[in-house]
């Protein structure tokens, strides 16, 4: 854990024996034929045609103000699911998450509307986050500049479906980062940008931490975790395998993945 400098550390996120279960419709037998579906409906017993995936199994931790926490683990280990649960976007099967204020999640799939222009997406995204029209107008230029969308021409007035995946990810991050968050969670959003953009976002993350927020960062890039985080949670198969200072956990993790 991060060292105790001030003596009075204020928790911002508490996860208490958290379990998350996904329910997937129509994936029971893997066969999609109509007769198979019918026989599933007719067969009684456990929930019909529904398969469950136990994605997070009993995770507990406490995060404090001013901490930047990295989440690592192999693909499918439950990192993104855990973040969504902290944000209150996925209901918990068992256990609870307590948070200070409303955590914001910034993921690679954060949906914006592809048919609309980048300009409209900035306004809608800001409004959905609860910003007022004046606040958005005030920060609009900053958001555009930060995203770097307009560096190669006037792209902000084009529909988002014309953007490259990197451009779309940059715009999403810029919109979410425009607001001051108590708890900000970033789900591999930095991986898509170019080096210049990654530098800018890392600087913005440090700024957010200084404003006494807590930042969670999911990344498969151990270097960016080392650069920005002072504490790391290591998830494997939905369980918390390790929780400690960045160097220690990363050393174990690299040993585990055979690097």
């Amino acid at each position: 854990m991060a060292d105790d400098k001030t003596g009075a550390r204020v928790p911002t996120v508490i996860a208490d024996d958290l379990h998350i279960v996904y329910r997937v419709n129509g994936a029971r037998s893997g066969r999609g034929s109509a007769t198979a579906a019918l026989s599933r409906i007719l067969r009684r017993g456990e929930e019909r045609g529904v398969r469950t995936v136990h994605a997070v199994r009993g995770v507990s931790f406490v995060a404090y103000r001013g901490e930047a926490i990295g989440l690592i683990g192999s693909n499918g280990s439950g990192k993104s699911t855990l973040l969504r649960a902290i944000a209150g976007l996925l209901p918990a099967e068992r256990g609870k998450v307590y948070t200070d204020g409303q955590p914001s999640l910034l993921g690679v799939n954060a949906a914006l509307m592809n048919d609309l222009t980048g300009e409209r997406n900035i306004i809608l995204g800001g409004l959905a986050m609860g910003m007022s029209r004046e606040e958005i107008k005030e920060r609009y230029q900053d958001i555009v500049d930060f995203s770097g969308i307009n560096e190669k021409g006037d792209f902000i007035t084009l529909p988002m479906r014309t953007y490259s995946s990197g451009m779309a990810a940059r715009l999403r991050f810029s919109i979410a980062a425009a607001k001051d968050h108590d708890v900000l969670m970033i789900d591999e959003a930095l991986a898509t940008g170019d080096r210049k953009f990654q530098k800018r976002s890392e600087a913005r993350i440090r700024e957010l931490r200084k404003e006494a927020g807590t930042v969670f960062l999911v990344s498969h890039n151990n270097k960016s975790i080392r650069d920005t985080c002072d504490r790391v949670l290591w998830l494997e198969r939905g369980e918390l395998r390790m929780d400690g200072p960045t160097d220690e956990v990363l050393r174990e993790y690299e040993k585990f993945t055979g690097k």
Partner: protein, 311 residues
Amino acid sequence: MSETTHDGTVAVGAPVSPDEGLTAAELAAKYGLSVSGARPSLGEYVRQLWGRRHFILAFSQAKLTAQYSKAKLGQLWQVATPLLNAAVYFFIFGLLLGARRGIPSDVYVPFLVTGVFVFTFTQSSVLAGVRAISGNLGLVRALHFPRASLPISFALQQLQQLLFSMIVLVVIMVAFRSYPDLSWLLVLPALALQFVFNTGLALIFARMGSKTPDLAQLMPFVLRTWMYASGVMFSIPAMLEDKNVPSWVADVLQWNPAAVYMDLVRFALIEGYDSSYLPPHVWAFALGWAVLAGVVGFVYFWKAEERYGRG
């Protein structure tokens, strides 16, 4: 500082702090932390929703314009779609099937077109409601906002769509010698009540559709049956006249919400469509349906607020 135990987890020597020994719940209570994603109280929910009113409006407008953003004719389709719709119904029911009995011919075309537009308003609100949550899971899982924003926004989008249809409707009215007068103002309360009713339905179906996406397949059939039973293309009393049924049957059929709102808009706009076509207590029913659907829909939707986004 840390030590690997036999099962691979790491025990961390926690610094001594005054919070030592508190359970998670006690710690949360001490620092005023709240359960993430918990359902707010009904009053608080209304307040949050009011705070997002700009989002609801902007989202509905964005969806409306995005609808035709790939079409070459663009926003012209806002008007062309209802016009073509009305033309098809007139061709089939007015000319081929002759469903206009009991209605003078210069009343029938406005009658039919009004019916189609007003029913489409309810129909598309319900269909949009079914997919409001299940079709926007990405948005629901990415951002935090009161979920009722989505079905309300979709109902609002349909209201704006209807306003475009109204442009077509005014042209048709004038073409068939129903000229603007004071009674046209009655359209406003009628459509306002219908909008509340539609929003309530959209909220109900948004919750049901989030749990059972199959509804998106089923609802078009239910709605089509409802349309044919509500007298969109024929007058209910005229149809039952020679059928030897008691007169209350016609009243009951005309008290169905879709028929009530259609009749009120027709009554307001069409010159030859007077109060003899209306069932008794029609305004009371219009208000009753709106309040019932609006309140039940809102509370029903709110009850599952914390569960949207699973699946």
